[in-house]
């Protein structure tokens, strides 16, 4: 009844019907080239929702369809570019990624579902982008790749794509992962910027509502790097920074402690969802 009233008011005033409207996530199932994708599953203990939902369920039919077919997915161009980089010699040691890790389909399977991981050397969580840099500088005699520079998104997408369909699962028992999770939770719930919004304001409290014409999802990260219809292949920290910019706040640096903690916590919030990299979103 409440929805009916809201809709009635919107019609009567001639305002966009999006004001205050709620649209449920769709009842639809995703399979990518025969691989079943979990887009809806029971939330882990301590989660604010009963069910975790992939952002795929919040998109329009045309966008959902592009995700189903790995050929039609423009993000797969980047995955193929990532494969080329994987086999390209970089640095003074004359090594490519493949020199040590051979076939990514075997060696990288599961990586995209289990990062960030604890890195004992730096005493911090490490994500795929930073792990690539660690290999480049410590094993390959190459320079670290700057944020979003020189194929970082492509190589990350290629590595994460090897876990397509595998459920996201972090090991919080390693090192100090639990305390980074706690720190990430603080970041998630901290209101920030001129709009005074926390991540939770949109992706928890207002999840399912419309923000102008945008259908607010749970803000899951199981499909990053993601191909956005708006801007092409988009890395996770790029998306974090974009969201934070939109709250009119100062943006933390990519791979800063705040964003690494946030990545750890938000990845956990998607526990059990399949890796969808490269997902297609609006």
């Amino acid at each position: 009844m409440k929805r009916l009233l809201i809709a009635g008011v919107a019609l009567a005033t001639g305002l966009a019907a999006t004001a205050g409207a709620i649209a449920d996530p769709v009842d639809d199932t995703l399979e990518i080239d025969g691989t079943p994708i979990v887009t809806r599953t029971a939330a882990p203990e301590g989660h604010p929702f009963d069910e975790v939902l992939s952002g795929w369920l919040f998109r329009e039919a045309e966008t959902r369809d592009v995700s189903r077919d790995s050929f039609e997915n423009p993000g797969m161009i980047a995955v193929e570019d990532g494969e080329t980089l994987w086999n390209t010699v970089m640095g003074s040691e004359g090594k490519s990624c493949a020199t040590c890790h051979d076939d990514a389909a075997v060696s990288m399977k599961g990586v995209g579902a289990s990062f960030p991981k604890w890195d004992a050397d730096s005493q911090k969580p490490i994500n795929v982008e930073l792990q690539i840099n660690k290999c480049l500088t410590e094993q390959m005699g190459a320079e670290a790749i700057g944020f979003n520079k020189k194929g970082q998104r492509e190589l990350t997408a290629y590595i994460k794509h090897q876990s397509l369909g595998m459920p996201v699962k972090l090991d919080l028992s390693e090192g100090e992962m639990q305390s980074w999770w706690d720190k990430g939770k603080d970041v998630y719930y901290a209101r920030t910027g001129q709009l005074n919004l926390a991540c939770a304001s949109c992706h928890e409290v207002a999840m399912g509502k419309m923000i102008r014409a945008d259908h607010l999802s749970q803000g899951q990260v199981n499909g990053f790097p993601t191909y956005r219809l708006k801007s092409g292949l988009t890395s996770l920290h790029q998306r974090f920074r974009g969201c934070i910019r939109d709250t009119r706040a100062e943006q933390p640096k990519a791979f800063s402690d705040d964003l690494m903690a946030l990545e750890t916590y938000v990845t956990w919030r998607g526990t059990g969802l399949s890796v969808e990299t490269p997902a297609v979103r609006q």
């Binding site: 929805r3 019609l11 019907a17 649209a23 045309e62 966008t63 709009l195 419309m210 219809l229 939109d246």
Partner: protein, 151 residues
């Protein structure tokens, strides 16, 4: 009727279209001058008839940068029943031209899908030219949405 967002939007669009028709009484084929001129260039001056060609596009595009569209004509693509080409216009873009598809007997079917850019909510127009020179047109309004706080 179950009032979903889409239904509500549909109602609003219906109401808006009714209002516009009531005030301005534009003919069904109305297009901007630039589009109209391009259509005439393509048809050689003939006014396209409705029917035969169909244009499929989403009612609401999630982002105007990448909007899937399909054009098709129900044709045997043999002998005299052959579609020569289909042109697509985006009537509300700074430059309405989008693409021209050329077919042959080896096409097997007069069908093409691509992804296009739409600057705002507008009509997308397809005009098909048959081998015998007859021309047909279809048109769909696509609503281009504005994203969240970032736009």
């Amino acid at each position: 009727m179950k009032l979903t967002r889409r239904n509500v939007l549909g109602l609003s669009v219906g109401a808006a279209a009714f209002t516009i028709a009531g005030i301005q009484a534009r003919p069904a084929s109305a297009a901007t001058e630039a589009t109209q001129k391009s259509i005439m260039d393509f048809t050689g001056g003939a006014e396209p008839a409705a029917g035969k060609v169909s244009l499929t596009a989403p009612e609401i595009a999630e982002n105007g940068n990448t909007v899937p569209v399909t054009v098709s004509v129900d044709s045997a693509m043999e002998g005299d029943d052959l579609v020569a080409s289909i042109v697509v216009f985006a009537d509300g873009n700074p430059n309405p031209a989008v693409a021209t598809f050329h077919f042959s007997e080896m096409s097997g079917a007069a069908l093409a899908t691509t992804r296009i850019r739409l600057a705002k909510t507008q009509d997308v127009i397809a005009v098909a030219k048959m081998k015998d020179g007859s021309v047909f047109m279809d048109k769909k309004q696509v609503k281009v949405t504005i994203g969240g706080c970032g736009g």
